[in-house]
Symmetry: C2
Subunit: 160 residues, 2 copies
């Protein structure tokens, strides 16, 4: 199948946002996305950019994407984080997800990072199986913690 994978352009951020929303629905958080395509453009093309985003194109249509950014390990040094990877529903099981994943790993390798990392939903067993078959390790002993904007504001206001 003839799929091209390359960095997303400014006028493609609407399609990228649609894929982000499709992924949020898959992750059972349909109303979580408050970001706009204008935000994505500003953040993707700032100096330095806040993330990298590659799209998969089949017959001139964007059918998938990955989005990632650098992180840092105090044990190993520079790493890359894979925030999102998605193929639109009707184009799944054709190897496009694997091609996007491969593109991300190749990008990370070219940057000489010491680790690549991401998060996966526990019930997404197909993804877990794919990741493990490619040499990734799942860490069951760590939990993700977040404070949202409201919690940050409350913390600032309540501080003694």
């Amino acid at each position: 199948m003839n799929v091209e994978i390359r960095p997303a352009k400014e006028n493609e951020m609407n399609d990228v946002l649609s894929l982000i929303k499709e992924l949020a629905i898959f992750e059972k958080e349909p109303n979580a996305v408050t970001l706009t395509s204008k935000d994505l453009i500003a953040h993707a093309f700032s100096s330095p950019p806040l993330f990298i985003c590659y799209v998969a194109i089949f017959k001139s249509v964007i059918v998938g994407m990955f989005l990632g950014y650098p992180r840092y390990s105090t044990w190993k040094g520079p790493t890359m984080h894979l925030e999102d990877l998605i193929v639109t529903k009707k184009m799944r099981n054709k190897g496009i997800g694997r091609a996007l994943f491969s593109s991300f790993i190749n990008f990370s390798y070219s940057k000489g990072v010491k680790r690549v990392e991401w998060a996966v939903l526990k019930w997404n067993t197909a993804a877990i199986k794919f990741y493990e078959s490619n040499g990734a390790k799942i860490y069951n002993d760590w939990q993700i913690v977040q404070m949202n904007e409201k919690a940050i504001h409350n913390f600032i206001l309540n501080k003694k």
Copy 2:
């Protein structure tokens, strides 16, 4: 107690590395740290820097630190990640950890981020209690996935 919290200086990265190693021991990974203080200096003072690092100073001695960096949420926009926060063993339970945490939240707030995030070990109940009492939410449905340098190399070599 008179504790000063401020950005770490270049000649303090040896002390920062000692704290990173102390945290790795606490996390039961005593041999995980391959980073050197030379690496930390290069990465902290590059343009742009790969992370921010603040130290806690009591009677001219570095007794704690936090280290963090920007991340990006495709739902909310720019976020900050707290990679490490540690107070050296004999100086714990004096409010220094809280002061470092507060400094990190204030830094993040000043940058206008939409979220702060980090990871916690499941068995570290004291930390979890502290985070939750400050408005943080623990996500039990996500798992952390990593590929180390060897796994990345293998993936690149084995790719068809």
